[in-house]
Subunit: 447 residues, 2 copies
Amino acid sequence: MSDRRQLALNLFIYPGGHHEAAWRYKGSAADRVLDISYYQELAKRAEAHKFDAIFFADGPALADNVRYAQRFRLEPITWLSAIAAVTSRIGLIATASTTYMEPYNLARLFASLDHISGGRAGWNIVTTSAPQAAQNFGLPEHPPHGERYERAREFIDVVTRLWDSWEDEALVNDPASGIFADTGKVHTIDHIGKHFRVRGPLNISRPPQGRPVYVQAGSSDDGRAFAARFAEAIFTAHQTLASAQEFYTAIKRQARVFDRSPDQIKVLPGISPFIGSTQAEADRLQDEFNALIQPEYSLTQLRQMIGLDLSGFDLDGPFPRHLIDTQSAQGVASRFKLVIDIVDRERPTIRQLVQRLAGARGHWVIAGPPEKIADNIQAWFEGGAADGFNVMPPWLPGGFDLFVEQVVPILRKRRLFRDDYTGTTLRDHYGLTRPESIFADTIQAIA
Amino acid sequence: MSDRRQLALNLFIYPGGHHEAAWRYKGSAADRVLDISYYQELAKRAEAHKFDAIFFADGPALADNVRYAQRFRLEPITWLSAIAAVTSRIGLIATASTTYMEPYNLARLFASLDHISGGRAGWNIVTTSAPQAAQNFGLPEHPPHGERYERAREFIDVVTRLWDSWEDEALVNDPASGIFADTGKVHTIDHIGKHFRVRGPLNISRPPQGRPVYVQAGSSDDGRAFAARFAEAIFTAHQTLASAQEFYTAIKRQARVFDRSPDQIKVLPGISPFIGSTQAEADRLQDEFNALIQPEYSLTQLRQMIGLDLSGFDLDGPFPRHLIDTQSAQGVASRFKLVIDIVDRERPTIRQLVQRLAGARGHWVIAGPPEKIADNIQAWFEGGAADGFNVMPPWLPGGFDLFVEQVVPILRKRRLFRDDYTGTTLRDHYGLTRPESIFADTIQAIA
């Protein structure tokens, strides 16, 4: 292992790629959207190039405007279980909602994925921003932001204690003595809170990682406080180095408030690279994608981010900044600010704005030759803006192939990225410690 | 394909086998309880012998008395997803609870497993009989039987309509026109009921089988009515041919009340075979297992079935029949009657009774040479008692190997079991029709 601090790199998988028109691009595998072997191949490729993890987003509702876009929801935990079966090292991060699941069920699913994969599971903790999810779960309305985070905090506490409820030595499994479990080391959690009452223990022994890795992706104020307290890896969206630096510094400072070591929180911005042999070629590639955009869909996406419906407006007219009330952010809170910043900085037309966002829903899109991409990655990594990246190829699999074949070798040459894995678990890859059970050395138990 | 009616055979997997002391037997793979490759090997072996399906039980709570027994809960949907990845034909049946899950989440998980496996998923619908589950989900007490089944009926209605919410032709996925989904064929379900309010549609297209196969395993009065209405395969426990015949006849008759064709309901009793080259050898094998029983555990099992705690009683004394009030069945309703029938028929000691039940928790245990096992299977199959069997090897993998190597060839020779698969889905194997979406030809849609 290199003594030098090195990048963490995840492959963030959207079926045909991250550009909203990727599925219409000739090189994408759009027709394999429901083919598990396609995702298994992507994971094996990422593993061959020693990536830390693959990652699936999720939400328990149909995406808006699925007529015009391949915004398809694969259920991440099942898909990653099937991917675990054909890989051996790469981390497997699934998104799951604290608002629309029960902690006992979630704790089991992730413990199971961690056992199946030999310690490679990560949980991307979300509170779910899509309001239509509420209607699939009998709620009169989508709970407001603050309430969702309050429930999320209690949820994590419950799930953590369920994972800890079997101490590491509790599973004895000794046929001769007839003792399967040392029940002195299996604990009820007896949680009674505002949102949950959960007795425990969990019905499976402690996950290989102790706890699957806690990942978080919200960058609102609530999201930041939550991340500083719980997250071990943070997926975040930034358009500029300055914005990423501000976030990075703030999160690491906030973590200290919770007595956490800053190096136990990996900040991983998204990056969506259009790679060409020259700048002009990369720009042309990006233009090719933007020409495939369907405005009906793009405006739906924009409405989700800023709460404003611009259908009927002239796409080539200026973005109507005066219609935005910055005092009452709508939509996805962390994206709202990002979009308004772009508008105030660049004063785009509506078409220019949706093209700006089409690449990766507000994440950093960069076009250029491999050296430029590598230089920028290095600048963010060494400039206090990132511990690594969530790589979001504009299209798949080709866009990822270009990245691993042309950019990763440069990073490796500069000793910024590993030559090989040095451990077997996702915690090993990220350099995170394996937590001890909170019940270690306690005597209260089920027996 | 043989024109003759043939057996359906499932392998029901318990980690070390079904006998409660299996994990203590020298030939069991007890040490591989958490090793996914062990379960993958079992599934591949069952597939090599053309079994219809493998099956996992489940419940969202730790089993009682895990100190003395390998009663370990693998989460079935994740484990089956990992097994799907290394098999291509065998059906994959997971148990999941209508009492402790949300229909939207369950519909997604099974739709996902069905997509991953190319149409091999089955859902064993349970209402969960273990009262301790309630304490893991914030309920003041375990809901009574009738209420659980009421919720289950509504739950199934919601899940069915979610699976149907994308008509078969809704996924267009045409890059040229830019149409991903024909939203005229994607439907909200707008369910408003006593237990659930679910708008839909589901966020994934229709499962390959239309709907995963509906399996059911309760044999109480509520369970029977439920099965006659919804189940396509029924797992059931019987100690005698007469009991199985009564059940078989009643269920098929009840199905007609719901306008269902009796041949669309497969009745599959459990069978746990101890196989030896002679009767004496098979009996000795069974004795060997019974010598490994730990009474502390057996009495817990018995208490769950009949609601009576016999710790402290003389194991070699008569079973205290007078303590049982047949008017107020306790424990697992379908097992209560079965145990009382054994007691009244055989007047066993407590030890004899727990040995009788240790083999497969009340399922049919039979010991003998391969021909005797095959003869009995044929007698049940041709005598109006079974459409096939849930094979529950006393220990794994060896107990299953004996069955497929010694009994299955006899069944095949008699043309009672398939030589090869004739289809690719679980519906194909069971001979079940693929249901059309209830929304086919309706015009209400999300667009």
